[in-house]
């Protein structure tokens, strides 16, 4: 049974999360302040943390940094809209995903499920993805669309591989640029955009009705289908 730690100062929010997540079979721990949250995270080793960025005692970014000193499981941050820079910063510091307040429970559950599975005990690297149109074989480095094999350059493949390995989850621009092009290219987002556009064309994915690759402008990308192993 997975343990989730909720760090949020609003009692009503903790209450409805507790009811909803318990009904889904999770065990819930609650903390009201950043310090309490850090203590509980250290003592009880939850499997996932939901962290509100607007805490009364410590700034959310500070709590996040301190958590990442010892906690290496997924963290979802709750943020207010129009604070993209805050979200991007949180993702850089180590958060895995974010949800914007106010949010519906389904959105949060979807994120939680994907992340717990990805960080779960029996995690293997994804090797394949297949649906009725597309077959992506990461081992063979092959992409087949509607029966035709499409060639992928080395970097295109690296990009697709990372998105699929994090299927359903957000991958930041910075992480992709750093890992594929190197630390000096972290600002060259146009490289990424060009390559994503190429992948979309090869996958036959319409960017305004994306089925495979979704853009979160200014933040990163998500491979939409949840890939089962």
């Amino acid at each position: 049974m997975s343990k989730i730690l909720i760090i949020d100062d609003e009692p009503q929010i903790r209450r409805f999360l507790q009811i909803g997540l318990t009904a889904q079979g999770y065990v819930i721990l609650e903390a009201e302040t950043g310090r309490q949250g850090l203590a509980l995270a250290a003592e009880d080793a939850p499997d996932l943390i939901i962290l509100d960025m607007g805490l009364p005692d410590l700034d959310g970014q500070v709590v996040l940094k301190k958590l990442r000193d010892f906690f290496h499981k997924p963290i979802i941050v709750l943020s207010v809209r129009n604070r993209e820079s805050e979200i991007v910063q949180a993702l850089d510091v180590g958060a895995n995903d974010y949800v914007v307040k106010p949010f519906g429970i389904q959105e949060l559950i979807a994120r939680i499920r994907g992340l717990i599975k990805a960080f779960g005990p029996s995690v293997e690297s994804v090797q394949r993805f297949q649906d009725e149109r597309v077959l992506i074989d990461l081992e063979e480095r092959k992409l087949t669309v509607d029966g035709e094999v499409a060639k992928l350059s080395r970097k295109e493949f690296e990009l697709l591989k990372r998105l699929i390995n994090n299927a359903g989850r957000l991958v930041t621009q910075q992480q992709l640029l750093r890992e594929i092009w190197g630390g000096t290219h972290v600002e060259d987002t146009h490289y990424l955009r060009i390559f994503i556009a190429r992948l979309r064309t090869k996958l036959g994915d319409d960017p305004s009705n994306p089925r495979y690759i979704e853009t979160e402008p200014g933040v990163g990308y998500r491979f939409l289908p949840i890939v089962e192993n």
Partner: protein
Amino acid sequence: MTTEQVLRKFAYPIGIMFPWLLTPIAFLITDYLPKANVPLLYIVMVVFIAINVTVELAIINALSSFFAFSFFFAEPYGSIMIHQDEDLLTILVFLLTSVIVGYMATKHKHNVQKIRMREFMTDIELELLERLPKAIDTKDVIAAMRDALKPWHENCVLITHDDNWATHPMIRRLTNLRKTYLEELLELRLTPEVIAKIPQLEQEHDVYFLYSSRQVIGLLRIAAENIQHIPKDIFLLLLHQVNISLERTRLAADLEKEKIAKENELLRSALLSSVSHDFRTPLTTMIGATSTVIEFGDYLDKQQTRELLNTVLEEAQRLNRYTQNLLDMTRLGFGQLQLECNWVSVEEIMSVVKKRLKPLLIFNYLTENINPNLPSLYVHAALLEQAIFNVIDNAIKFSPKNASIDIDCTKENDKIVIAISDQGTGIPEDEREKVFERFHTAEKGDRRRSGSGLGLTICQGMIMAHGGNVSIHANPKRVGDKTNPGCCVRIELPITSQPEQQELPKSAE
């Protein structure tokens, strides 16, 4: 030294010597030039000197000519004595003529100077009179005056608050001006006695003051030496015009301030009434629905309960959108909209907008026509999404059931155009500007539809913050339809030159 300076310095020696150079030459050609013509040559010299130097030197030159003539042309030759009566008469007439002509020439010169000066002043005045009515504020007026006085910069100086009054050399030289008055004036300590003294000060010291609402804001000082050349009446007229303009601009500024205060007041009351209505309506539903579930939960079947709870969710989301609108509106109003731009494609923006619109697209649907070759946009994505969302949200409110809302994105010259057309009741031409005003709604009072009247205002604000433009037009596809002509909202965004169009370096492949 320039030729002019040389001539000026040696004017007197030259003036005296010249006849002694000219006359011998005349003497040598006396066979072709009878001696009676020589005085005529002298007259030319005299007039020249009278006009260009002084009348005194002209007379001295005349005398020198007199002696030269008697030396070379009158018997006994080689002496300045004159024996012949004829010659004496000639030269005396010459002297007399010289004096008269010299004075006339000088007088004429002064008159011409005066007329030129008047013309000059009138030109300046005309220029000033043209510029003054266009001046918007005090700065404009002072600038106009400074420009008008530029040709005079040697003779007069305009000192305003921005300059350092106390240390200006012109001020320091005003030793005649009673020190106390000067200080009071400069520090604007305008007591009634000082104000009463101003005309007298002006007269005594040729210092002129520029006022604005009984405050001295400038001081004009004319160098006394040149005062005789300045037609004083025109000058004072000029000054008067400037002072009138200063008064006018100040009144205009006060009027503007009052207008803004009034507008703010109107806005505040509109905001209060909007919040009151637009918060209370969803809250009424929410409180009503949830209290019903709590009180009568046992008597309701599962579907009814679910329906009520769905209503609560919808109304809460509506409240959320409204709150967001208000926040956006406030940020726009305070100029706190900081753009964090990123490169996005139109398709990516539309994908997010469509996701957010899903719960609202119950009776209507969207059609999309995006030109596949559009360049990417360099925008703050969340703001553009909100702007487009607001327009479509509006379109949905006014569209009949089963009507589509059409989105067309194209490139026109150097702009990207996103056109959103609906089949609703349309917006009459005279209202197409007004709909962008804050809190403008189609119906007033309790009967008005669920709209805060802020959506289009915010859309316009956000698009304009990107250097773009929003406008409303008739729906071109439904021109004939009178009941549901619909309308078309055009969002235009400038195209930023992008690094993407450049070649990817080989190293990036």
